[in-house]
Symmetry: C2
Subunit: 326 residues, 2 copies
């Protein structure tokens, strides 16, 4: 396992990532809605990463890591710890290359998530739901398999892969009407998508503002941004379960250098924005993805009259438990 | 009000319709899923008409009728009776042309539907939930307004408009991989979408089979097809509420001439297929649209190894009442 800490990925790494992963990902739809434009006063372009085959943008970074391995390392496969979309997407990418993928998941993770990882060919090893247990079990799994560790976000290969999303978005907007975007907004958890967006736009469209969207109840990135150093919450609780993790050194580098602002939304605002999107865009998306629309609806003056790209990050939802149905 | 009965639309009418409506509709996404291909054994191409701005394919036929009116008639606007997507889409199209749209809806129709019609600028007049009342009230509204009657499906302008969907689908499949489709399947209620599909494919792709999908509990089209004449059910009850209406002379013409088969699915099978689509395609679609996937899952031998186009007809769902959540 190499130490990727502070190997800051470059714009060229992102371009190379796009060439590498193009056969394995989708150029996802950019969706608009007259109605959502009307109620926000902005012109919104939703980049639908929920429509990736495994349902999340994380297939970009995972594919870049998997298909960038040399043949010797590839034989040993990849490994990660995650109970969310990264586990799913890494298993999917590894499955496409035909190499092993080992995932350590808390035994308390939803059965559906474990099943989905296995469906893509990933091998699940359970740990107790604590950091100590996860680290112990992961070290053991990695020692046994020799699989390359692919961190969910604090990894230059992953960030370069996520950066391909905003490259595609800018290309699609230009094809549509020759224009650009005033703002791109995406949710922030560990900061992988936002870092990739910073990586790409700081070169490709330096005048486009990047505004990160975070749940009020897990606002560690916003507080870090204001304080000028990483503040990690102990155990934030929010319906936007993809956004509970803290920033790390690599993602903090991008967030502190290129993000214009971080805005937050309450749990009710997130649920309301989620339902509005399901209703008017008619796509299935996770609570985490609703945070950007929630901050737009909450801060209309910041977005009115602007052309705004909104990254819809994922669509893996427990359909039996929708937050607006009690 | 002209009598459109048995003015059978031609392939040229469909081509003219496509030119006419192109600025007012979306060229909707064609979505695929490795997982759904795996469980069906077929290669499925989902034409996502739920992603039209007003959420249904019916915007095609409605736009063709609205934008085909001469200026004198246009001033008087359009009128219809419908409690579903046709009312919404006709209001939307009339709104884009800036002409009046009068809709007669049963007072028992969901408030959300009435609100949606009004949001697009349609004027709602309520009737009692009976055919007699609907006809009386509609005659009165039409006498007062002089609006052109646009039937939800038994209208050559509407059928020609719906036919543009399979034209686009065939073009998109050809762009994707140069191939064609062995089968196109769509739900059947009154038969507007299926008739448009017949109109287009009988000229454009005469070897492509057209298989209609119908709820077991509203199987009047299937029984008509087997009997060789129209059989109308009195009051069918199914969760696929867009599919309760009977065939009429124009749609029967197409169904009886060009449809290869009509297959049915039970209520449970429809709900299961609906949930599978939400989960793996991550799109919001109505129960009616799930019937095609339900018949594919039920008749795998008929579809295995085939390239199958599936028309996802609409996405206007009551999100507070999902059929798999009790």
């Amino acid at each position: 396992m190499k130490d990727h800490a502070m190997q800051i990925p470059t714009y060229e790494d992102m371009l190379a990532a796009h060439e590498r992963i193009r056969p394995h990902i989708r150029r996802t739809l950019v969706l608009t809605s007259d109605y959502l434009d009307e109620i926000t006063g902005a012109q919104l372009f939703f980049k639908c990463e929920n429509l990736q085959e495994p349902g999340a943008f994380k297939v970009r970074g995972a594919s870049n890591a998997v298909f960038g391995l040399d043949d010797d390392q590839a034989k040993l496969g990849v490994a990660t710890h995650s109970s969310g979309n990264h586990a799913l997407c890494l298993s999917y990418a590894a499955g496409r290359r035909g190499i092993p993928c080992n995932v350590v998941m808390p035994r308390t993770a939803p059965q559906a998530k474990k099943d989905a990882v296995r469906r893509y060919g990933g091998r699940v090893t359970e740990c107790e739901p604590s950091t100590t247990s996860r680290e112990e079990v992961f070290a053991k799994v990695q020692a046994e398999t020799g699989g390359e560790f692919v961190h969910p976000y604090n990894d230059p290969r992953v960030i370069a892969g996520q950066g391909t999303c905003s490259k595609e978005l800018m290309e699609q907007i230009a094809e549509r009407d020759g224009g650009g975007l005033d703002i791109v907004t995406a949710p922030i958890g560990g900061g992988g998508m936002i870092s990739g967006t910073c990586l790409t736009l700081s070169t490709l469209a330096p005048d486009t503002q990047i505004i990160a969207a975070e749940p009020e109840q897990a606002d560690d990135a916003m507080r870090s941004f204001r304080a000028g150093h990483i503040i990690a919450d102990d155990a934030p609780d929010t319906i936007a379960d993809g956004l509970k993790v803290p920033l790390k050194d690599l993602t903090w580098h991008f967030v502190s250098s290129h993000v214009s602002d971080i805005l937050t939304a309450s749990e009710d605002e997130i649920v309301e924005a989620m339902k509005i999107t399901w209703k008017y865009l008619r796509i299935v998306m996770e609570p985490s993805c609703a945070v950007p629309l929630a901050i737009i609806l909450k801060n209309k003056d910041r977005f009115a009259g602007k052309r705004v790209g909104v990254v819809v990050t994922g669509g893996n939802v427990d359909l039996d438990r929708l937050p607006w149905i009690k």
